[in-house]
C-alpha cells in the first residue's frame, strides 16, 4: 500500500531522453537521407557546372545563379508560375468559400452533395490528366463539342493545343481538383462558429451580409490562412497535373518553374543550372511561408482580442 504523501514512484523504463531518441530515430534517418541530404547536395551542385552525360563537374561559384537571373526562358517560366499560382489561389479561395457556405446551409441532399463535391480532391493526378485529355481532345472531346453548341460560337477552341488557352485550361482543371481542399477546411471550421457571436451581432442589428463580414469571415480567417499556405506551396511546386496534362507545352506555354527545372536538368542537360533554380524556388517558397505565418498570427490575435 502506498502512503498518501509519498512521491509517486514510476516504474523504471528507459530514461526519457533515450526513449525519445529511439522513437524518433527512424523518422530522423529517413528525413536525413532522402530530404536533407539531397537538398544539401542540390545546393552544393548549384555551385558547379555539371553536364548531365559526362558528370564532369567544374566549380563555377555563383555563376549559375547569375545565369538563372539572366536566362530569358527562366524569366518567362517565372512569369507563368506567378500567373499560375495567383490565379489558382484566387479562384480556389473564392469558389471554395462560396461552396463551403452553400454546403453549410441546411438544404436537401446536403450530405450526398458534400461527398460528390469533395471527391475530386482524392483523384490521382494521372487519372485527372487522362480524363481531361479525353474531355478536351481537339477532335472527339466533349468540351469542344459543347463549346460549339453554345449560341453565337462558331470558332472551335483547341483547349490544350493552343498556346494562348493551354495555361487557362490547365488552371481550370487544377481548380476542379483542389478547390475541394479549401471547402473541406472551411466546412470543418464553419461548424465551430460560436453561436453567441452570431446572437450578439444580431442584437446589434447586423444583417446577414454584416454577419458574414464581421463574424463568419474573421472566424474563418486563421484557418484559411494556413490552408492557403499549404495550397500556395503545393501550387508553386505542382508538377504532376501540368506535366501530365500538357507536358509544359504547347510551345512552353505551360512551362512553370518546376517544369523549367526539369527542362534545365534533362533537356538542357545542366544539373548545376537546374539546381540553382531549384534552390532559388525553395528559398522563395520559404519566404512566402513566413509571410503566411505572420498573417496567421495576426488573424488569430485579432480573433482573441474580441
Amino acid at each position: 500500500m502506498r502512503r498518501p504523501n509519498a512521491k509517486p514512484r514510476y516504474r523504471k523504463g528507459l530514461s526519457d531522453g533515450w526513449l525519445a531518441l529511439l522513437l524518433i530515430l527512424p523518422a530522423a534517418l529517413l528525413l536525413a537521407v532522402f530530404s536533407i541530404y539531397p537538398f544539401l547536395q542540390a545546393a552544393f551542385d548549384s555551385l558547379f557546372r555539371i553536364p548531365l552525360v559526362t558528370r564532369q563537374s567544374t566549380f563555377v561559384g555563383l555563376a549559375n545563379y547569375a545565369e538563372v537571373f539572366q536566362d530569358e526562358s527562366v524569366r518567362r517560366a517565372f512569369g507563368r508560375s506567378l500567373i499560375w499560382t495567383v490565379s489558382n489561389i484566387v479562384v480556389q479561395t473564392s469558389l471554395g468559400l462560396l461552396i463551403a457556405l452553400l454546403l453549410n446551409t441546411r438544404l436537401y441532399g446536403r450530405t450526398l452533395a458534400r461527398g460528390l463535391v469533395l471527391f475530386p480532391y482524392m483523384i490521382p493526378a494521372i487519372v485527372v490528366a487522362t480524363v481531361f485529355r479525353f474531355t478536351f481532345n481537339d477532335i472527339t472531346g466533349i468540351a469542344s463539342y459543347l463549346w460549339l453548341k453554345l449560341p453565337g460560337v462558331h470558332e472551335p477552341i483547341y483547349f490544350l493545343s493552343q498556346p494562348n488557352t493551354a495555361l487557362v485550361t490547365v488552371t481550370i482543371v487544377n481548380c476542379w481538383k483542389y478547390t475541394p481542399f479549401i471547402v473541406i477546411v472551411l466546412l470543418a471550421r464553419l461548424q465551430t462558429v460560436p453561436r453567441d457571436l452570431y446572437e450578439a451581432a444580431q442584437i446589434d442589428g447586423a444583417g446577414r451580409l454584416a454577419l458574414l463580414w464581421y463574424v463568419t469571415l474573421p472566424w474563418l480567417l486563421p484557418v484559411l490562412t494556413v490552408a492557403l499556405l499549404l495550397r500556395t506551396i503545393w501550387t508553386v511546386n505542382d508538377f504532376d497535373v501540368i506535366y501530365l496534362l500538357a507536358f509544359g507545352g504547347p510551345l512552353d506555354a505551360t512551362t512553370t518553374l518546376p517544369l523549367e527545372i526539369r527542362r534545365l536538368a534533362f533537356s538542357h542537360q545542366d544539373l548545376g543550372l537546374a539546381s540553382a533554380l531549384a534552390v532559388l524556388v525553395a528559398l522563395g517558397i520559404s519566404v512566402i511561408a513566413l509571410a503566411y505565418l505572420w498573417l496567421y498570427r495576426r488573424s488569430e490575435a485579432r480573433l482573441h482580442e474580441r
Partner: protein
C-alpha cells in the same frame, strides 16, 4: 438592462406584422429554391468529369470516337475492362501500386506515430530542431530532390526497384503524417498516461497501452491520406522505375496515355476507373471525418 432583457426586447422589435410575414416567407422560399439550384449546379460541375469517365469506359470504341458524342452508351459493354487486363500490362501496374502504397502506408504510420508521440510528449531542444526540419522538408520542391535522390539510389545499386520507391515515398510523406499525428497527440489529455505510469506502467507502456488506442481515429485518417498520396505519386515513380514489370499505376497509365494510337480512349477510361475505385472506398470511409475532425487537427494544430 440585463442581456436576457435585451435579447427579448430585440426579439420583440423584429417581430414582423402578419402581412409582412407572408411576403417574407415567400422571399425565403424563393431564396431556398435558388440555393438548391446552385447546389445542384455545383454538384453537376464537380462530378460531371467523373461521370463522363465512367460512361465512356462502358462504351465501345466507335462510340467514343463518334461525333457528335452521345452521353449514354448506345451499347453497354465491359470489353474495355477485359482488354485493359489482357492487352496491356495494367495488371502488373496495379499489383505494384498495391504493394508500394500498402507498404508505404504501414511504414509511414509506424515510423510517424512513434516520432509524433516523442515530438508531442517530450521537451528537449533537439526535438524542436527536428520538428522544424520536418516542417522545412515539407516545403522543399520534390523536383529539387529528384536528381540527387536518383543519384543516391543509383550509388546504392537500388535503381529500378520497388523498395527504393517505397523508401522515398515514405520519406516524402513522413512530414505530413508527423504533423497531423503530433497535433492529434497534443489534443489527448496527458493525465491518463500519467495515471497509468503511477499505476506501474513504463513511459513506453503508457504510450502503447493508453495514448495509442485513443489516437486510432487520427491514425486511420492519416493512413488514408498517406495511402492516397502514395497511390497517386507520379514524379518519383516515373523517374525511378523503368522496366514495365516495375512500373506503378501512375507512370504505367502515363505510358498507356502516350500510346493512345495503340490503345483506345475507352480502355484508358477503364484504367482510370479501376485506379479510382480504391480511392472511392477510402473516401467513403473518411468522408464524415473529413468535414468534422481531421482538417481541424491537420490545419490548426
Amino acid at each position: 438592462m440585463s442581456s436576457e432583457q435585451a435579447r427579448s426586447a430585440a426579439r420583440a422589435a423584429v417581430q414582423p406584422a402578419p402581412k409582412r410575414a407572408t411576403r417574407h416567407r415567400l422571399r425565403a422560399q424563393l431564396e431556398r429554391m435558388g440555393l438548391h439550384a446552385l447546389l445542384g449546379l455545383t454538384v453537376l460541375v464537380m462530378s460531371a468529369p467523373l461521370a463522363w469517365m465512367l460512361l465512356s469506359s462502358l462504351k465501345p470504341d466507335q462510340e467514343n470516337a463518334a461525333y457528335p458524342p452521345s452521353i449514354l452508351p448506345h451499347t453497354w459493354t465491359l470489353q474495355n475492362y477485359r482488354l485493359l487486363f489482357t492487352l496491356s500490362d495494367f495488371g502488373t501496374y496495379l499489383r505494384n501500386s498495391c504493394i508500394v502504397a500498402g507498404v508505404v502506408t504501414v511504414l509511414t504510420i509506424v515510423i510517424g506515430v512513434n516520432a509524433a508521440y516523442a515530438l508531442s510528449r517530450f521537451r528537449f531542444r533537439w526535438l524542436n530542431v527536428l520538428a522544424g526540419v520536418a516542417l522545412f522538408a515539407y516545403t522543399i520542391p520534390p523536383i529539387l530532390l529528384l536528381v540527387p535522390i536518383a543519384r543516391t539510389i543509383t550509388s546504392l545499386k537500388m535503381g529500378n526497384s520497388l523498395p527504393a520507391l517505397i523508401l522515398i515515398d515514405t520519406a516524402t510523406l513522413l512530414p505530413f503524417a508527423l504533423w497531423v499525428l503530433r497535433s492529434y497527440f497534443n489534443g489527448l489529455v496527458i493525465e491518463i498516461e500519467q495515471a497509468a505510469m503511477i499505476d506501474g506502467c513504463t513511459r513506453f507502456g503508457a504510450f502503447v497501452r493508453v495514448a495509442l488506442p485513443q489516437a486510432v481515429p487520427g491514425i486511420i485518417s492519416t493512413s488514408i491520406f498517406t495511402f492516397n498520396a502514395a497511390w497517386s505519386e507520379y514524379l518519383f515513380a516515373a523517374t525511378l522505375t523503368v522496366s514495365p514489370s516495375k512500373l506503378t499505376l501512375s507512370p504505367g497509365m502515363a505510358l498507356l496515355l502516350d500510346q493512345t494510337g495503340v490503345y483506345s480512349w475507352g480502355l484508358l477510361m477503364a484504367g482510370a476507373v479501376v485506379m479510382t475505385l480504391p480511392v472511392l472506398v477510402l473516401f467513403t470511409i473518411i468522408q464524415r471525418r473529413l468535414v468534422n475532425g481531421l482538417s481541424e487537427g491537420s490545419v490548426t494544430g
